[in-house]
């Protein structure tokens, strides 16, 4: 009767249910996002995601992470080691599939606490694994998927947006406005030029472009950083070697020499990008 190998798509459903239970027991507000937490009407086909995503109320993050640990989850990639947005930590569990725990959504300029408040205010419930899970409203689901598409370098299409009725798109635009996420929304749906003067235009031009390199990324993040402290943080990050990524790539804990070698490679890569531009190899 035991099932040593549950298909990954099914395990995603069960993992969502497990995370909801953990959140309930911890008294933490979470919103399930993406995958089966998105209405089927907003997807072009059946979902084949391999991990689960939850957005946690920032004020409840510590208690939720403590509850995860108590339930047997192990941190795989920390918030600062994952994406450049530092928005999610990745957890593993012997039974469940990977869980991406989001402390914020990449995209909105509104404070993360306020973003969660807005999404939570309009929340609804979905049966995932035949368990009641909290999910964003329909417009919230559209915004979440569309913002995700906006930072995919063109690899993910804004399906939820395209599949939405005009009135739902209007609701999603209003929500994006409330979240101060109009620029990334525009980037995903081909309207970025209308936001040329926005402070985060460069950032979303980079993330939505399919022809950008790391130097473009750091330049865009630098230009979009608010204030001297934030710009200094971006510069420090640009030179920082992500040990987790290096460990995954090497298959073992990197030695000090390997970290040093990676540091040199980053500097060399940046220099090559600059030279290629100077020689006009890139448009």
């Amino acid at each position: 009767m035991t099932a040593p190998e549950v298909p990954i798509w099914a395990l995603v459903h069960l993992t969502h249910a497990a995370l909801q239970r953990t959140a309930d027991r911890a008294g933490a507000d979470v919103l399930h996002i993406k995958g089966p937490a998105t209405r089927s009407s907003l997807r072009t086909g059946r979902h084949d995601s391999s991990d689960t995503d939850v957005l946690v109320r920032p004020a409840h993050l510590d208690r939720f992470l403590a509850a995860l640990a108590a339930d047997g989850w192990t941190l795989f990639t920390g918030f600062e080691e994952g994406s450049p947005f530092g928005h999610a930590a990745n957890y593993t569990h012997p039974s469940w599939t990977y869980a991406d725990v989001h402390r914020k959504l990449p995209g909105p300029l509104l404070d993360a606490d306020e973003v969660f408040d807005v999404l939570w205010r309009d929340r609804e419930h979905a049966e995932i694994g035949h368990c009641r899970c909290t999910v964003p409203s329909l417009a919230g689901q559209v915004v979440v998927q569309t913002l995700h598409a906006a930072r995919s370098h063109g690899s993910e299409h804004a399906d939820a947006w395209d599949l939405s009725a005009p009135e739902v798109q209007d609701d999603a635009r209003a929500l994006a406005r409330e979240l101060k996420a109009e620029t990334p929304l525009a980037a995903a749906i081909g309207e970025l030029d209308a936001h040329r003067d926005a402070p985060d235009h460069a950032l979303w031009e980079y993330w939505s472009s399919s022809e950008s390199d790391r130097l473009d990324e750091w330049a865009a993040r630098y230009r979009s950083a608010a204030g001297v402290a934030e710009r200094w943080r971006v510069l420090r990050q640009a030179m920082h070697v992500n040990r987790t990524h290096l460990r995954i790539r090497l298959g073992h804990e990197p030695t000090p020499f390997e970290v040093f070698r990676e540091q040199c490679a980053r500097i060399a890569h940046g220099a090559v990008s600059v030279l290629r531009r100077a020689r006009g190899h890139r448009a």
Binding site: L11, A18, G72, S95, G129
Partner: protein, 94 residues
């Protein structure tokens, strides 16, 4: 046969239909222990019937017969199968 069964509140489950797959299989998770189980064919049918609120063993047997499903749970029969599910905490008796 005695008892009226329902799915335990501590389980999550998903079957082929939930994923748009034509599979008569259900995967069940005990959320409190993180144990995973799989039921196929006749086991899947029994599970789905219980989830639909058909928790009386006699009625489960009748529904299965009406659907033309051949259920062979071996020496201990359907009741033995239900006992096994209950022992594993997947279903509860009311």
């Amino acid at each position: 046969m005695t008892g009226f069964y329902s799915c335990s509140p501590d389980v999550a489950w998903v079957d082929g239909t939930d994923g748009g797959r034509p599979e008569s299989t259900v995967w069940i998770a005990r959320l409190d222990t993180a144990e995973l189980y799989e039921l196929r064919e006749a086991g899947w049918l029994v599970w789905v019937l219980i989830a639909e609120g058909i928790g009386d063993p006699d009625r489960i047997a009748k529904e299965a017969a009406d659907l033309g499903a051949a259920i062979d749970f071996g020496e201990h029969g359907l009741q033995g199968f239900l006992d096994g599910l209950e022992r594993r905490g997947m279903i509860v008796r009311r």
